[in-house]
């Protein structure tokens, strides 16, 4: 069989053992001086530009293959530092990958130094605004004092004050979300070597009722991972009754902390 294209999963700076799954998955190791590339030879039928584009519009193909990409790299990184490649990075067989590794040797070394001994963890923070709204008098002095006024007022005045309070609650919830989100972020960031903020995802995409208020990724030294996870748990429990929820996933391959500067041609 002739497979002329090379699909790249990741680079490592020490030699991974592929024996367990090489045969089953067709993974191969290419050596370039001190670096190793975990690759798979793929057919032009699946991975020609035209066919690849076609596959990409097939969500289930994309999901399966994207998971496979992450899964292979995750297994390698249990014992080795990795530089993950974007899904679907394909080189022509021959000198292309070798040239890349040579041309970018310095940048690759810097990246290995940056991610070595560290893991990528993602934290998403959500706020259930209904729960927060129910507890607003505990967290907002303004809301609490308005509530006292409402209770002491005649029905007519109380009605007007209630409407005022509804507006106030929206603003106060925004303020509280910012304040708490920042506190959580600062505490987690103190344990991290680097962070990256991602776009907040709207409810349609998360499929959740609560609102995402922070979507961050942290690079954590392996020695601090346990502490980091405990901190996420502790922060999550602390303000649970106000509607805050922290969701942590990882370790991911360090996708978010790879910086390869493309050289001018």
């Amino acid at each position: 069989m002739n497979y002329p294209l090379i699909y790249v999963y990741c680079l490592t700076d020490s030699q991974p053992e592929l024996t367990h799954y090489t045969e089953a998955e067709g993974l191969q190791l290419l050596r370039f001086d001190d670096l190793f590339a975990v690759v798979k030879y793929v057919s032009e039928i699946d991975f020609s530009e035209e066919n690849f584009q076609k596959h990409l519009s097939d969500i289930s193909w994309l999901e399966n293959n994207a998971w496979e990409h992450v899964e292979v790299i995750t297994r390698i990184m249990e014992n080795h530092s990795v530089i993950p490649f974007k899904f679907g990075t394909i080189f022509q067989e021959g000198t292309g990958l070798k040239k890349f590794v040579g041309d970018y040797a310095e940048s690759l070394a810097e990246n290995f130094l940056h991610v070595g001994g560290r893991e990528e963890w993602a934290v998403k923070i959500y706020c259930d605004r209904n729960s927060l709204s129910d507890k607003i008098d505990e967290l907002s002095e303004e809301a609490a004092s308005l509530e006292i006024q409402i209770r002491a007022s005649s029905p007519g005045k109380a009605y007007l004050l209630k409407r005022k309070k509804d507006d106030l609650i929206e603003n106060e919830m925004d303020r509280i979300c910012k304040k708490y989100g920042q506190e959580y972020f600062d505490e987690l960031n103190n344990l991290s070597e680097a962070n990256r903020l991602n776009n907040l995802l709207p409810k349609e995409f998360t499929g959740r009722e609560d609102t995402m208020i922070l979507n961050a990724t942290f690079l954590i030294s392996k020695s601090k991972v346990a502490n980091f996870k405990n901190t996420v748990d502790r922060l999550g429990k602390k303000d649970e009754n106000f509607g805050f929820l922290l969701e942590c996933t990882g370790p991911w391959p360090p996708f978010s902390f790879i910086y390869i500067k493309e050289k001018q041609q």
Binding site: L56, S57, W67, K86, T89, F205, S256, I258
Partner: protein, 69 residues
């Protein structure tokens, strides 16, 4: 296997996965790479996912309705 992202895959949205593997890591756009066109617009993808999940929901509802009859 140990506690890793694969074990948590059920809880990870496909969008989080795709945002990572398509927009991050070593990204080459020129030079010797064969396929550089894997630039997928996540907004587009998100809309597609949304549509497909709406479809699934409608299907489930449909099945339920049939069963209830």
């Amino acid at each position: 296997m140990s506690n890793n992202v694969i074990d948590q895959s059920k809880d990870i949205t496909i969008l989080e996965l795709l945002d990572r593997v398509l927009n991050k890591g070593v990204i080459l756009t020129t030079g010797d790479i064969v396929i550089s066109a894997a630039d997928i617009d996540l907004v587009y993808l998100g809309v597609k996912l949304m549509l497909s999940s709406v479809e699934t929901m409608e299907q489930l509802k449909g099945e339920k309705a049939i069963k209830e009859k």
